[in-house]
């Protein structure tokens, strides 16, 4: 707009300042409305969360989005509805009772060729307008006041704060495993490595019980990570990130095992479980913790059991009993009844703790020599695949027995010197690639090709899940072991007779 050279000096500056204040005031109004809308969104979503309806991404994300949109709309509205200086001059005329002096001056100043400036009346007008321009106070013309929506926003915000204090805030708590990952990121390499090795040991035990090679590979990866930390090849947050990733892999492996129908020990490998285990145990009795029991806790008949370990314990004791009975200087085949009586006498109790104690005790006098065989196979090396498994065909039922694994085979382990001592596992990593890791095959797990054996199908029994207690399993396993070993012995006798002396 043309700046008039007479009569209106300073007026345009005052009107411009007033217009800026108007922009600010309108911006405050828009911001107040936006904040009020955002607060209402938070309030509604918080109320919804109290009744179980959770907004995706959290209520605060929606609130910030509402605020951002509101501010954008406010900016556009302020820009589009911005008055020109003539409108501001009209406002000033009304506000200060200037009898249209300012608006006339702004308009005449804006059209220099449409006004006869030589006219004494026009000149007198501009002088008069200039004399009154000092009355235009931008602060009085556009007072910046607290918008009314701001008061409503304050009330709603107070209500939201109260709701936030009342409702349980899971998001306030640390996510599961956060302390574990923070400990892994410890700048002290020794401390971080020790933690990682503890987790690796836990995972190896789990791998052994579940016969899960995937978990075994993950445990190896954890040990390698601990080695890198000690040797300071890595440290800090990358260690925590790698730990989290490996535990995620382990969790998926454990989940896949349970989904395949295998009985769960009651212990999982989620990050939260690992963190809880390491935080609550002193010397970390991995075996006792993995079994779901402690040495000091008395095992009740209705307490949760670890079927796999109990089965292994019973079978081991049965094997020992069989060996002791079979170890006769004559080398004659064992009498069936004598074997059954020996097995029954060997397990005088079904208490899992007593079974474990018996296992840990010193070998009973008269232990059979290691070359006792049953049917030509060394007894000590026979690994019995089995235990307890949920019957998928009979809901609510559990099958207990021998030779009922997924492969329904018995892996006969024979010490063969030419079996490879390690094998490679492929472990999927982030980004879709796969990493090859060598896994040492310990002697206990070396085996030849898996061979199917003609096992008597009677070496199993079926029960309901609610009857699966420690005492029931102890009796059942003892019965199964007896029938199994008797069956093997009978089978061996048949074979011996068929082949002849």
């Amino acid at each position: 707009m043309h700046e008039p050279d007479i009569g209106t000096m300073g007026l345009l500056g005052r009107l411009t300042a007033a217009r800026r204040r108007l922009d600010v005031q309108r911006g405050l109004v828009g911001a107040a409305w936006s904040a009020l809308a955002a607060a209402i969104v938070v309030a509604l979503l918080t109320v919804a969360s109290l009744v179980g309806v959770t907004a995706p991404g959290g209520e605060w994300r929606w609130s910030w989005a509402t605020l951002a949109i509101g501010l954008l709309v406010t900016g556009a509205w302020v820009w589009r509805s911005r008055p020109d200086l003539l409108e501001m001059a009209c406002r000033a005329d009304r506000c200060f009772d200037l009898r249209e002096r300012m608006s006339t001056a702004v308009e005449l100043g804006g059209r220099p060729h449409g006004v006869d400036r030589s006219s004494p009346v026009v000149a007198a007008f501009f002088r008069d307008a200039a004399a009154h321009a000092g009355r235009v106070d931008p602060r009085r013309l556009v007072p910046i006041v607290m918008p009314r929506p701001a008061v409503a926003f304050a009330l709603v915000a107070a209500g939201v704060l109260a709701l936030q204090l009342v409702s349980p805030r899971e998001s306030d708590a640390l996510p599961p495993g956060a302390s574990l990952l923070a400990a892994a990121a410890d700048p002290d390499p020794e401390s971080a490595a020790e933690l990682i090795l503890d987790i690796a040991e836990l995972m190896r035990e789990e791998a052994r019980r579940e016969s899960n090679d995937y978990l075994r590979v993950v445990a190896t990866s954890l040990e390698q990570l601990a080695s890198d930390v000690v040797e300071q090849r890595t440290g800090g947050q990358p260690v925590a990130d790698e730990l989290a990733r490996l535990l995620t892999e382990a969790e998926s492996a454990a989940t896949s095992v349970s989904e395949s129908g295998a009985e769960s020990d009651g212990f999982s490998l989620t990050l939260a479980e690992v963190e809880e285990f390491l935080a609550t145990e002193g010397e970390r009795d991995l075996v006792a913790r993995a079994d779901g029991t402690t040495r000091d806790s008395p095992a009740a008949e209705s307490s949760p059991v670890n079927p796999s370990s109990l089965f292994s314990a019973v079978m081991a004791r049965a094997r020992q009993a069989l060996q002791s009975v079979s170890a006769e200087p004559t080398g004659e085949p064992t009498d069936d009844q004598a074997l059954a009586d020996a097995l029954a006498a060997a397990d005088s109790t079904s208490d899992p703790a007593s079974v474990e104690e018996a296992m840990e005790g010193t070998p009973s006098p008269g232990s059979p020599p290691p070359d006792v065989t049953v049917g030509g196979r060394p007894l000590a090396n026979i690994d019995l695949g089995g235990g307890s498994v949920v019957d998928e065909d009979a809901p609510g039922s559990v099958n207990l027995g021998v030779g009922m694994g997924a492969a329904s085979v018995v892996a006969e382990r024979v010490e063969v010197p030419d079996v490879a001592s390690s094998r490679d596992f492929e472990l999927p990593t982030e980004g879709g690639s796969r990493r090859r890791l060598p896994e040492e095959i310990v002697p206990q797990t070396r085996f030849t090709e898996v061979a199917e054996a003609a096992l008597p199908r009677g070496a199993w029994s079926q029960t309901t899940q609610d009857q699966v207690t420690s005492s029931y399993l102890g009796v059942s396993y003892r019965d199964i072991a007896s029938r199994y070993f008797l069956a093997r012995i009978q089978q061996a006798k048949v074979e011996a007779q068929s082949t002849g002396p």
Binding site: R99, E100, R101, T104, A105, P120, V121, V122, F125
Partner: protein, 337 residues
């Protein structure tokens, strides 16, 4: 309303002219006591170059007002008493035959009483429409045609016609088209008690107030040029447009009451009169631009005789001026308050 010249006085003369105007105003008000609004409206119409229709009961000082204004402004004045038998030639003049000493006769146009700078047409509604038209034609054209010759009326030329609202029997009411030629219709109300007391005191004593001459015809013409030079903002003019359209009963945006009760709305001439009068009012108020309040101040005298109610409005007792005020506030806004 006759045309005025476009030349304007110099800056030096402006302040003196304004000062003279204020002095003239005070001088008239000193003699015609208690009628300040009528005095202002007369002077405004003088500055605007318009004519005035004065309406009031007898004895309120209408003739005194006109004569005083004439004296203060230094204008030649004449008075025409309109009667039912008044002829047009009695107003405009006539051709007369004159015989000289040699016995030769010649004709000469004898100027009528209209050939004055200020004409008081008393009780103009008592004469016939034919006689009224002779006056109104002179008011519109500023000339008188007689015997085929055009005679210029003196400048400035100012007519103040009066109407007696009491004795309406046997009168010829001015038609709307003729009323539209008057810039103002000025009402002279009955004075209140204190004003009446002062009037009686001043006018019944031995000494009578006589107004001095303050202005002269040239000063009046200068003031008329200054009035037309007063600037007006576009949005103020736009408000006049909105007002004029809002008074038309056929307009789609007009008020329901206007559509129901109004017969004739404000004509373009009425809108012109409103603006010119507002300019004159601003100048008289010592300002040099037209304000919304100036429009409001001259609204009633300018438009009351142009804003006509229909039969339904008259029968329902609608106050035309109140309705006009309502339309003004609706269209122009609260800034007029």
């Amino acid at each position: 309303m006759h045309a005025v010249e476009t030349a304007v006085p110099s800056t030096v003369e402006l302040d003196s002219q304004i000062e003279l105007l204020q002095r003239a105003r005070a001088a008239v008000a000193e003699v015609v006591f208690g009628q300040e609004s009528a005095v202002d409206e007369l002077l405004i119409s003088l500055m605007a170059g318009g004519h005035v229709l004065l309406e009031g009961a007898p004895g309120l000082g209408k003739t005194l007002l006109v004569r005083t204004v004439g004296i203060v402004c230094g204008l030649t004045a004449s008075r025409i008493q309109f009667t039912p038998d008044l002829m047009p030639a009695d107003i405009t003049g006539t051709m007369v035959l004159l015989q000289d000493s040699t016995g030769r006769t010649r004709s000469r146009f004898q100027h009528g009483p209209i050939f004055a700078q200020m004409v008081l047409a008393d009780e103009v509604n008592r004469s016939t429409p034919k006689t009224q038209s002779a006056l109104l034609e002179a008011m519109q054209e500023g000339t008188v045609t007689a015997a085929g010759r055009v005679h210029e009326l003196p400048k400035p030329f100012f007519v103040m016609a009066t109407q007696n609202p009491i004795e309406m029997e046997g009168t010829y009411t001015l038609p709307e088209a003729q009323l539209d030629r008057f810039l103002f219709k000025v009402d002279m109300p009955y004075p209140p008690e204190d004003v009446l007391d002062t009037i009686l005191d001043r006018t019944t004593g031995a000494r009578l107030n006589v107004a001095p001459q303050v202005l002269d015809p040239e000063a009046i013409l200068n003031l008329q040029r200054l009035t037309r030079s007063v600037p007006m903002a576009t949005h103020v003019r736009a408000s006049v447009v909105r007002l004029a359209l809002a008074t038309q009963p056929g307009d789609v945006k007009t008020l329901e009451r206007v559509r129901q009760y109004v017969r004739f709305g404000v004509t373009p001439r009425g809108a012109q009169s409103l603006i010119i009068a507002a300019k004159a009012r601003a100048l008289m108020d010592g300002r040099f631009n037209v304000a919304i309040k100036d429009l409001h101040a001259v609204l009633r005298p300018t438009l009351r005789h142009r804003f006509r109610l229909n039969f339904e409005g008259i029968a329902d007792g609608v106050d035309a001026e109140a309705l006009l005020e309502e339309v003004f506030h609706r269209t122009v806004g609260e800034s007029a308050a």
